[in-house]
Symmetry: D2
Subunit: 304 residues, 4 copies
């Protein structure tokens, strides 16, 4: 059985931008990253979809990578999203991540033209060789336009030794079990779909990749503790309270929603980058309500 | 009724790469572009999906844009694909295209996060203002992951005066008529789905955006002449001969297939850029057969 | 090349029900059928989706079949929809249709459990043998839940000599050409998607299967005459006028919409059968407007 | 909180047919039904999809209903599938089920024409009034072509007091929780997707509707006991063993697969009814292997 380099709550920071100039706001990024570690995140994962990496220039990308990893400073493992259209671009980012000490890298099959099986294998293979780090395949049909089924994921992993982790964001809970079984337990599976967080842990996911700790870290960590501790009733109760919030941030786009929430908490991270626009006023008002119910002091006391 | 700046056969060149270094091969690009004009294309459209623009660095993109437009040198109109993830990146490319004398620009709603209606309007609006050129919205659900229906396209165009053209690649023929009627004829519609080329002209498309002229320009132009000249039987016959080839290049990915065909014609344009790989041998053999049936001397004589 | 038993406008009557008892109203059916023939329909097709055959008992089904065929009395060809869940039920209906003198039968792959290729071939084969009539395969993914692509349709037809006609209701115009070519012209193709009526004729459909002649027969027949006569401008003009109406009856369900229209024309056919409910008032008002624009005297004069 | 009339393992018998005459084999049905009760099923559910009710005549349907309910004879609750195309047909079956003493009825929104919200409400409302029994809405987009989302299900249930149970066969685990919460716990949720059986119990499903007890009742009941008893490791182990079998019977169609399995166990139930054909030989051989691993004596000993 695999002993994966990441477990538990893998927290995804947004990338703050200056509200006036639109440039990356590195001090705000340092502050947010520090908060995620201080709150007890089990890992930090910059430059995912939440981090708006698709909208960054290479130079900005490098700065966000370096700043985040320097701030974490090895206190918890790190997972860096290095996806790019071209193989060369992905390899470049993987090397930058390795140079700055990333624990692992995450790669979406983010393709303009649909890739053949051979093309996928070569793409992942080249990136794996370039970085020599544990690699997570990130399946997210909603943003990549490609859905890699468990059979395809496991076939790919058999060809690439570094490919030891899979992040499933399709929301299909049966895939967590399927990937583990098809790979004879060699692949560790992570959940990337917030609304099925609890079902995923119960179906064998070793981690939850989520931006929710930017806003409500106590609740997310309590849910994880209840799920792995076998406190089923408490886990169910916590999820019931969290669900409206989790659905809201997913439905409204993670960068938009999390940035609006940080503003409400007086931890400004600026607007998302165009074409994304800030969350409209009425939706921000709804988010305020949802966050009000999830204040740290409202966390139900644990039975332990 | 609109009098669009582009009509007829809009030819999409691939972007040649050096087979050894992998760098953009500008002399080969000049040669291919010159061929497309000499063959009688009614317009040339660099940096579309076929041009692998998703895999180019900004610097490469600029060089391809400049080289293509300089080679065309105003002999026919040009349409430059300027899509980029971010609004800023799209604006930058639109300005480069304008500076080099593009007739028009084409913009795919190429989005990582699904855009709201307001975000789409602002994205297209900013690009339109930056370039001050006629703009074509390019709807291609297969590559962009977003399907803009005729109602949404027309609503967007009403807000943005420059947005006067739509390229429909969904393959749904009823949309050509729907877009023209919903816009009271203000929007010109172009077909981007090769297999429905003839149906599209008959349903009112004013142009066919296609990479096929890279390989069989005589046939493509003859089909267009028959379609607009009302020679229905000849048009049907030509399409019947062309269809297996058109389906092949679509099914195998345009850059892969067109580059393999150029090699077969001793007009090397190098391999596609990874993650894309060259067409496998057996598929190339099949393409050789298909091209053999479409030699210029096999074109059926016109009745006129 | 095939010489199919049906061509042109194939008119689909609704099945009238008594407004009080809910029973099949055979006199009203006779009247409507007579109107369709008198108006110039090239064929009449009872017991299709429009005829609510899914909601009839076997005894009612037999009565509708007999009454319609007796009323047509051989003046034009007839096509009877004999689909049923079970093979035995379909065979029974096919035999009833044959006994009453149907010209041809139509069979939807109307399946509860998805059928394998062998099961489909055996189902169609048994029905074909039972009736010994020309058979039309009816592909309508929207109601049957199964989409038979041109390759599958042609493969099936090769095994079953009677299967010589295909009705395509997917709305994908490229399929008309594909089916004819894949079958080397052996299969005749009919269009069952109202909004693409003109595109379908231009792409080689030999007939249009439609309920629209129940309400606006002059317009439908004029469109057909213009399309086959090569009067492209007139055909385009007629379709432009017809389209809002065609889209309305498709979007609101053919039995609901056609029955509401017959009421507006003082040719009552009763309500549809539950679970279907009559068209609501506001939608009926909209239909009244659409029909007002399509009065016979508003038909543009022909140039001939 | 609701106290539903059914809980635990709800077993779905196939409908046996005589191998020679093709007629319903009532003695075999009695025998199979008796086996299901004797094995410990918590409820028996005749005339579902598994029971091939779509292929039965009304007379056959009535006989299967009566025979099954008489055989169960009140030893466990019963749930009868009464779905029919028309409202009148569904009402008739609901009354037959009530007359023979059914505990509850199950209704699929099995519609030929897509129903409006009003039509759905009236259809379910009329059936509910006719039978005056607890009613289960059965959502199975794969066979009905309609997907009723949790919001729509709960809205419908608020209008119809008898509608107190929902069977979800979409396989989306998040819906179990969503339906319970949107209905404030008023709706009891049952799982109809075999591969997510364990996830469903963990997400709050009160029952598992399944044909698997026809072949491996000990395993199914042991899984349920482990799941509700909180023996997570044992439940995971049992599901791991069961999954290949559960996936097989779902992928090959329940009536085909279960009937082939009964034959292998020398409990013949005849072939499925055409258009369905018996499972082919090679697939039956595979099923033999899968069943071999699930013999009752292979059940892992319980820790208790």
């Amino acid at each position: 059985m695999a002993n994966p380099p990441l477990k538990g709550i893998v927290s995804y920071p947004v990338t703050p931008f200056d509200a006036v100039t639109g440039e990356v706001d590195l001090p705000a990024l340092r502050s947010l990253t520090g908060d995620l570690v201080a709150a007890g995140s089990h890992a930090v994962a910059p430059l995912g979809s939440t981090g708006e990496s698709a909208y960054l220039t290479d130079k900005e990308w490098d700065a966000v990578c370096e700043t985040t990893l320097d701030t974490v400073a090895g206190r918890v493992p790190t997972l860096v999203g290095v996806s790019h259209w071209s193989t060369a671009g992905t390899v470049r980012r993987a090397r930058v991540a390795a140079r700055h000490g990333a624990t692992a890298i995450m790669v979406l099959p983010q393709v303009y033209w649909k890739l053949t099986e051979d093309e996928l294998a070569r793409h992942y293979g080249e990136v794996a060789r370039a970085a020599d780090l544990p690699m997570m395949l990130y399946n997210n049909p909603g943003t990549s336009g490609v859905d890699l089924h468990p059979e395809a994921v496991v076939a790919l992993a058999r060809k690439i030794p570094n490919l030891t982790m899979v992040k499933e964001s399709s929301g299909e809970v049966s895939r967590f079990r399927a990937i583990r079984e098809l790979s004879d337990g060699e692949l560790s599976v992570y959940n990337g779909s917030n609304p099925v967080a609890l079902d995923a842990f119960r179906a064998g996911a070793v981690g939850w990749c989520t931006a929710a700790p930017c806003l409500v870290p106590e609740w997310v960590l309590a849910l994880h503790a209840a799920a792995v501790g076998g406190h089923d009733d408490r886990a169910d109760e916590l999820l019931r309270e969290l669900l409206p919030f989790l659905r809201f941030i997913v439905d409204h786009g993670l960068p938009r929603a999390v940035k609006a929430g940080l503003d409400l908490q007086n931890r400004p991270s600026g607007p998302p980058r165009p074409p994304l626009l800030p969350l409209p006023h009425d939706e921000t008002a709804r988010l305020r309500e949802l966050l009000g119910r999830l204040r740290p002091d409202r966390l139900p006391p644990s039975a332990d």
